[in-house]
């Protein structure tokens, strides 16, 4: 059990939140000219890194707002949470 800082509500318990995968995936604008391979890449393929990962989270049992988090997938440490549309916080220099 750990504490996540919702950009709107403040520090809350992890169980109030749900994670919905990688953030910052923009839907292609030229959808009519996309190949099957490009569609597949957009719909299915994710970076799935070992280490720092930018993710979409939703405060499901709280304000129900979406926000982004910068999390280390190895240590589960969350380095930053930020509102959708805000500047991306830089990667930490020494991710534990």
């Amino acid at each position: 059990m750990f504490i996540i800082t919702c950009p709107y509500c403040g520090d809350r318990d992890q169980t109030e939140f749900t994670c919905h995968g990688e953030a910052h995936i923009a839907r292609p604008l030229n959808t009519e000219s996309l190949s099957d391979e490009e569609w597949g890449d957009y719909v299915f393929f994710r970076q799935n890194p070992k280490g720092m990962h930018r993710e979409r989270w939703v405060h499901a049992h709280g304000c129900r707002r979406w926000f982004n988090a910068l999390r280390n997938t190895v240590s589960d440490e969350i380095f930053a949470t930020y509102k959708v549309g805000d500047a991306r916080p830089p990667l930490p220099e020494n991710p534990s």
């Binding site: 059990m1 709107y8 509500c9 403040g10 809350r12 318990d13 109030e16 049992h61 709280g62 304000c63």
Partner: protein, 193 residues
């Protein structure tokens, strides 16, 4: 066949307004009141001013707080979302004027009167009963009178609000369909006080 009014009176609240007391704690379902969800741009001064006039108060602008004046209370649910309790009027009488206070196409007002019910915890052990089921920190240094928080209690999504610090009193708003579950949970915990 029962008419609509009789049906409505019989179903006024899911727990029939029952109450239960144990050592230092009273839990009771509150009388039903009409409620509105207001979605609007609360960072816009003109919208806030217009809504303040209709609601008789500046609607809670700070996160995790509520405002109360006369017969209405306004709870902060999100940056662009508030919940209004109408203790004296009906939603049908109020909804039009609230809608008129929001610029056209820039918000929404929804009547949610029959979606929620409110259970009140009161007494010296109220804080202990509350903290037994929620991961939210209800210690008085972070959760005092005038504050509210959406969180969960057991498996139910709830809206907690702190009413009084001297005699710890809290309102727990819960969805109608979870009311029986929450009541059973609270009564069981209160029984250990």
């Amino acid at each position: 066949m029962a008419d609509q009014a009789t049906l409505r009176a019989g179903m006024a609240t899911p727990l029939s307004g029952q109450s239960y007391s144990s050592n230092g704690i009273t839990i009771s379902e509150q009388q039903s009141c009409d409620k509105l969800i207001v979605r609007a741009d609360f960072s816009d001064a003109a919208t806030v001013a217009a809504l303040s006039q209709v609601l008789g108060q500046t609607p809670a602008l700070e996160a995790n707080t509520y405002s109360m004046a006369d017969d209405k209370a306004v709870y902060w649910l999100g940056p662009d979302e508030r919940l209004v309790y109408l203790h004296a009027q009906t939603a049908a009488d109020t909804i039009g004027s609230v809608q008129a206070a929001i610029p056209a196409g820039k918000g929404a007002v929804v009547d949610v009167s029959d979606y929620y019910t409110v259970i009140q915890l009161s007494g010296q052990n109220a804080r202990d009963v509350l903290s037994s089921g929620t991961p939210f920190d209800v210690h008085p240094r972070v959760f005092g009178a005038g504050q509210c928080a959406q969180t969960r209690y057991g498996s139910a999504t709830v809206l907690l609000s702190a009413l009084d610090d001297d005699t710890p009193t809290f309102n727990v708003q819960v969805r109608w369909s979870f009311a029986q579950y929450l009541w059973t949970y609270l009564a069981r915990v209160a029984g250990y006080c």
